[in-house]
């Protein structure tokens, strides 16, 4: 089994086919979208493949160390050009093909007009922490 991260972007991914921003959807379309995401996650719990799913605020700050005894430096809000992650889902599946198929389904979540968003998702395999024992 390998874990994969699906990343959704507010910004930074190629433009979706149905790219109408969410704030211009009808409330029903928003509800349907949320329901689709929730059903998708529930189904993956049922198949034994779900690990985690979280959404992120579009607000954020860069932070870095600024030397001994000084408070960290912050820089924010983010510039309009920054690649912006909207959220993620982590799955644990048998094959790469399965990960791709599931990402495709997730990208079909309905948006404006009840039609699939065809959103571009970033699919990233985990570097699994433990090394196999029988290789040195």
């Amino acid at each position: 089994m390998t874990k994969y991260l699906f990343l959704k972007h507010y910004r930074g991914a190629p433009e979706a086919v149905n790219a109408v921003p969410m704030d211009q959807w009808t409330p029903k379309e928003v509800d349907d979208h949320m329901q689709y995401m929730s059903d998708f996650a529930t189904r993956l719990v049922g198949t034994g493949e779900f690990v985690d799913s979280q959404a992120l605020s579009s607000e954020g700050t860069f932070v870095r160390y600024d030397g001994e005894g000084r408070p960290p430096v912050t820089d924010g809000p983010f510039a309009e050009t920054k690649d912006l992650i909207a959220g993620w889902m982590v799955i644990d599946v048998d094959t790469y093909e399965r990960a791709i198929a599931l990402a495709g389904e997730l990208s079909a979540a309905p948006g404006a007009g009840g039609k699939p968003i065809h959103e571009w998702l970033e699919v990233r395999p985990f570097l699994s922490a433990p090394a196999p024992t029988v290789t040195e």
Binding site: G48, L127, P130, V134
Partner: protein
């Protein structure tokens, strides 16, 4: 004090008895898990004199309870027997059949692993979920789907020992995550399987596991980073595990059939036999890789064999052997880096180590390869 290991050892036998009495596998497994939970609650205060009899009685009662509520749900008025039927006593065969069922060829490797750890290993769903870093609900579903998949299989049908060995090997390789030592668990189950089957290849696998497990204390630094075999502090190897592994291997080699795990165990034994890395008998190791190649024709074996040739006959011979191996294979670049450094081509080695680090399949290896690249680059800078 609750003897958790004893409980877990009894698990497959008790499931086996219930199945033999006609309970379907999934229901039997659930009943025994519930009995295990009850034992965890009550045994610390008072452990029964006959633990297996206790578990069997409680599991049987759990099964009857489940069946009763099922029956009342269907609003039928059926009489249910309250006392266990005088069924045949369980045999080692029941446990063995359970190994086969949980590694049934219709299961994916991940499902077979999860089911084996629960029904044969007696681990809880939570422990298995923690070991594989997934939520408990996800693991519960993985296990119940696996049970449904094998639900149609007949308990008495002959199993395929090779698939059982593959499952145990996968569990062993998962090593140690969370609070469950999967390597130790795999050894325990393989030991049990060896005593039931007296099969050569099973003891080959047991020997391989013991010999690799013996090196575990030396394999990682305190920060979790990997220590390559040549740099390991050999005084930290577990000599009693090595002695046991070698004894198991020798007994297995005394018989006629030679399998893949024997050959791998023989290679591990030759490493274990060298007091210092420089004293490793690489010529014999190459011989075992030849044997392994004859048995498997695996490209991974070809790759490892070229490293061994690099040690036995020098890096030029090693690189020549490596040139015949598919360059797309994982760890090919790392092997090439190692042999280039041995051959004195530091520039190529540094570049190859950096390339290998970028495509490393896990963090520990990436860390190790990055350090190798950094070490050589430092030498090159003078």
């Amino acid at each position: 004090m609750l003897d958790e290991l004893l409980l877990r050892e009894l698990t497959p036998a008790v499931i086996g008895v219930l199945v033999r009495r006609g309970v379907d596998f999934a229901t039997a497994e659930d009943a025994v898990q519930e009995a295990l939970m009850q034992a965890a609650l009550t045994w610390p205060d008072r452990q029964p004199a006959d633990p297996k009899g206790w578990l069997l009685t409680v599991a049987w009662r759990k099964f009857l309870d489940a069946r009763r509520s099922e029956v009342s749900r269907r609003e039928r008025e059926l009489r249910v027997e309250v006392e266990p039927q005088p069924g045949p006593a369980e045999t080692a065969d029941d446990t063995l059949r359970l190994f086969f069922l949980c590694a049934h060829p219709s299961l994916t490797p991940a499902s077979a692993v999860a089911l084996t750890l629960r029904a044969v290993g007696g681990l809880t769903t939570r422990q298995i979920a923690q070991a594989y870093l997934v939520p408990e609900a996800t693991m519960a579903q993985r296990i119940s789907r696996a049970k449904r998949t094998v639900g149609g299989a007949r308990f008495s049908e002959p199993g395929d020992l090779a698939t059982v060995l593959r499952v145990l090997y996968l569990v062993f390789n998962e090593g140690y995550t969370g609070n469950v030592d999967l390597a130790a668990e795999a050894i325990r189950l393989t030991r049990q399987l060896t005593s039931m089957t007296h099969d050569e290849e099973t003891s080959g696998l047991l020997a391989l596991m013991l010999l690799h497990h013996a090196r575990r204390p030396a394999r990682t630094r305190s920060d979790g980073s990997l220590v390559p075999l040549t740099e390991q502090n050999r005084s930290r190897w577990d000599t009693s595990l090595i002695a046991e592994g070698v004894a198991v291997l020798q007994a297995a080699l005394g018989r006629d059939r030679l399998g893949e795990f024997h050959a791998q165990a023989a290679i591990a034994a030759l490493h274990a036999d060298a007091p210092r890395a420089e004293e490793t008998d690489w010529v014999q190791i190459v011989g075992w890789y030849d044997e392994l190649l004859r048995l498997t024709e695996s490209p991974v074996v070809q790759l490892n064999r070229s490293i061994a040739i690099g040690e036995a006959d020098g890096p030029v011979a090693g690189l020549a052997a490596l040139a015949t191996v598919d360059p797309g294979l994982p760890r090919h670049t790392a092997a090439s880096a190692y042999l280039h450094e041995k051959a004195g081509d530091l520039r190529a080695a540094a570049r190859l180590y950096a390339d290998a680090a970028r495509s490393a399949p896990n963090l520990a290896e990436r860390h190790h390869l990055t350090r190798q690249a950094a070490r050589i680059s430092q030498v090159l800078r003078g």
